[in-house]
């Protein structure tokens, strides 16, 4: 096999990985702080994509409108997250995990159908922003500038998220809330506010990733259920609640998928699920996580 082929396979895997990381980072954040697996995260991502498409139509015909459309989508989904958390989700915090899981699943059903109602079942697509429409030639592989942008944005978000969680005041509060919410509450901190904030940031990331993926994949109903499983695998491989773990989990996932196709064509899906099961069996807390208390 030619080196350039392997390299383009690697770059393809890395692009998949960074897209997945954008989605999975929000999932990981909510799990890390609130200990909740949010199935609706994929649906927020899908709604972000639809919202970006809708915003592009408002600004049409300018293709440069992509950037404001992305921002509108991300902010819109963040607002949706705030409403959902404030009005509904917070009433389930003390309840059993199963009820919280099913609540987020109810959101998947309701919001997914609402999207179908508003935007129909056809495929929608958004053009690549003109600034990043070209591609560059590296080591015999063509890399679109847009993919390169995503590959740089991924680590930037990882770094930003890590700085926020470990260096900023609110981030420290969030980690303390994850460790012992009751104690933090007793000390007079606004734990409810921290949870709302985390949920909003996570929704923002979901909306952002949904909007950013539109130039690459077409927007269809059902993209939410498909992506959430993948994001979930990434988070589990990296370690639930570990932010850097999610980053490296995405990188591993992307490469396994990319090279798995070469080794067992048709069974690459199998290889990522097998990887997830293997990680759960050997280190349930993930490759980069720490055991829960």
């Amino acid at each position: 096999m030619a080196a350039s082929f392997l390299f383009s396979q690697f770059v393809g895997g890395l692009t998949t990985a960074m897209f997945l990381f954008l989605i999975a980072s929000g999932l990981s954040l909510v799990f890390g702080v609130m200990r909740i697996v949010n199935f609706a995260h994929g649906t927020f991502y899908m709604l972000g994509a639809y919202l970006a498409w809708e915003a592009m139509r408002w600004f049409s015909p300018s293709a440069e409108a992509f950037w404001p459309a992305v921002l509108i989508a991300a902010l819109g989904i963040a607002a949706l997250g705030a409403v959902v958390e404030r009005l509904l989700f917070r009433h389930l915090y003390g309840k059993e995990e199963l009820y919280q899981l099913l609540f987020t699943y109810a959101l998947v059903l309701i919001l997914g159908d609402a999207a179908k109602f508003i935007w129909g079942t056809g495929q929608l697509s958004v053009a690549r922003p003109p600034v990043l429409a070209a591609s560059i030639h590296v080591l015999g592989a063509d890399v679109p500038l847009y993919n390169l942008f995503i590959m740089l944005l991924g680590p930037a978000i990882a770094l930003g998220g890590w700085l926020m969680l470990s260096r900023s005041g609110p981030g420290r509060m969030a980690r303390a809330a994850a460790y012992d919410g009751e104690m933090l509450d007793a000390l007079g901190a606004d734990v409810g506010g921290i949870f709302t904030g985390m949920f909003v940031i996570s929704s923002f990331l979901a909306g952002l990733s949904g909007a950013l993926v539109t130039p690459i994949v077409s927007i269809v109903p059902g993209m939410d259920v498909e992506i959430i499983v993948q994001a979930f695998i990434v988070v589990v491989i990296g370690g639930l609640g570990s932010f850097w773990g999610t980053f490296w989990g995405s990188v591993i996932y992307g490469q396994v998928l990319s090279f798995g196709i070469l080794i067992f064509p048709g069974f690459s899906l199998f290889s990522v699920f097998a990887l997830m099961a293997a990680v759960l069996i050997v280190r349930p807390w993930g490759l980069f996580g720490r055991p829960l208390r």
């Binding site: 995990e97 199963l98 099913l102 998947v108 099961a277 759960l280």
Partner: protein, 330 residues
């Protein structure tokens, strides 16, 4: 006086009563009623098998559809590809599902709550990926269509049953097998083994202290639940004229969890009531609108916020309140 009456209520052989009532559906109802009845019976068995884990043992499995699907494929492959008779294929489907549940369960029961749910999900998705891609055996994304109906000619030779359609015959076979399975599951629930599972649910540390091998009990429950889900899947594959990879996808596992919660997981008859309600609601709603998932989501929200005990739990709570009210005003 109240106490013995409650016990008689509890001691009635409900499985037999429901079975005897269900026998009359083909004679009194339309073909569509028989169709719905078959679906309800199969779903009831599937969801009760899940509840052995969920309600009795306190294990949240997010991949129970795997064993349902394995049963459907095992029965379908044996009957269609190898021409095996139903009387062999049906038990084989249950055994195959129980066997895989035993292997997967061995790893799952070593994990605690949330990780348990995720590993069951991961294994179910592995089964899904294999079913979806293994064209030679499972038919891949096309599935395994046209699984033959079991040969039930002997039934029409009985007096008075000569004019039954194939669907009616299969309905009778289904409710008989489901009734036997439910009776067996209820027996398991009430046996010392089932009591021990409930002890483990309520306090695993305590159970371990008194010398119970908690993991072994959980694994046994997992395999038994998987086996009965396999039976349900085998029937469903024949009923739905084929086995398809959708049966194993994670949303199917979520659906059966919703069914259980809807009926009420703290009662043996809760989940079957949930199956009945969901199938009935589905056919009512889909005749008006295609947005069934939306309605299901709203039902689920109402359930989670207003009736966390499910239909049966809500009814029992209402009855208790009424009784206390009457006692106070007597």
């Amino acid at each position: 006086m109240r106490y013995p009456r409650a016990r008689i209520w509890r001691r009635l052989p409900w499985t037999l009563i429901v079975f005897l009532m269900a026998l009359w559906v083909p004679a009194l109802g339309s073909r569509y009623d028989t169709f719905l009845g078959t679906q309800i019976a199969i779903d009831a068995l599937f969801v009760v098998s899940l509840n052995l884990l969920l309600g009795t043992t306190g294990l949240v499995s997010f991949g129970h559809a795997a064993y349902f699907g394995i049963g459907a494929y095992a029965c379908g492959v044996l009957m269609k590809t190898y021409g095996a008779p139903f009387i062999l294929a049906f038990p084989a489907a249950g055994l195959a599902a129980a066997f895989f549940a035993l292997i997967f369960g061995y790893f799952c029961v070593r994990l605690s709550q949330l990780y348990f749910a995720m590993l069951t999900l991961a294994f179910a998705q592995i089964v899904w990926a294999v079913c979806f891609k293994w064209n030679a055996v499972t038919g891949g994304d096309e599935g395994l269509p046209n699984i033959p109906y079991p040969n039930m000619d002997w039934l029409s030779s009985l007096p008075g049953l000569g004019d039954l359609s194939t669907a009616d015959e299969f309905y009778l076979l289904t409710i008989a097998l489901v009734a036997l399975s439910l009776a067996a599951l209820q027996h398991i629930n009430r046996s010392p083994f089932g009591r021990m599972l409930t002890t483990i649910r309520d306090n695993p540390e305590r159970a371990a202290f008194i010398g119970v091998n908690v993991r072994a009990y959980e694994l046994a429950a997992f395999a038994v639940a998987g086996g009965f889900a396999g039976f349900a899947g085998a029937l469903y594959g024949i009923f739905n004229r084929g086995a398809f990879a959708d049966y194993v996808f994670w949303s199917k596992s979520a659906e059966v969890l919703i069914m259980a919660i809807l009926g009420g997981i703290n009662y043996f008859w809760g989940p079957p009531v949930g199956a009945f309600a969901l199938v009935w609601l589905n056919q009512e709603i889909t005749s008006y609108t295609q947005y069934w998932p939306f309605v299901l989501g709203v039902v689920l929200l109402v359930l989670l916020f207003a009736f966390p005990g499910g239909i049966v739990g809500g009814l029992v709570a209402g009855y208790e309140r009424l009784r206390r009210w009457r006692w106070r005003h007597a």
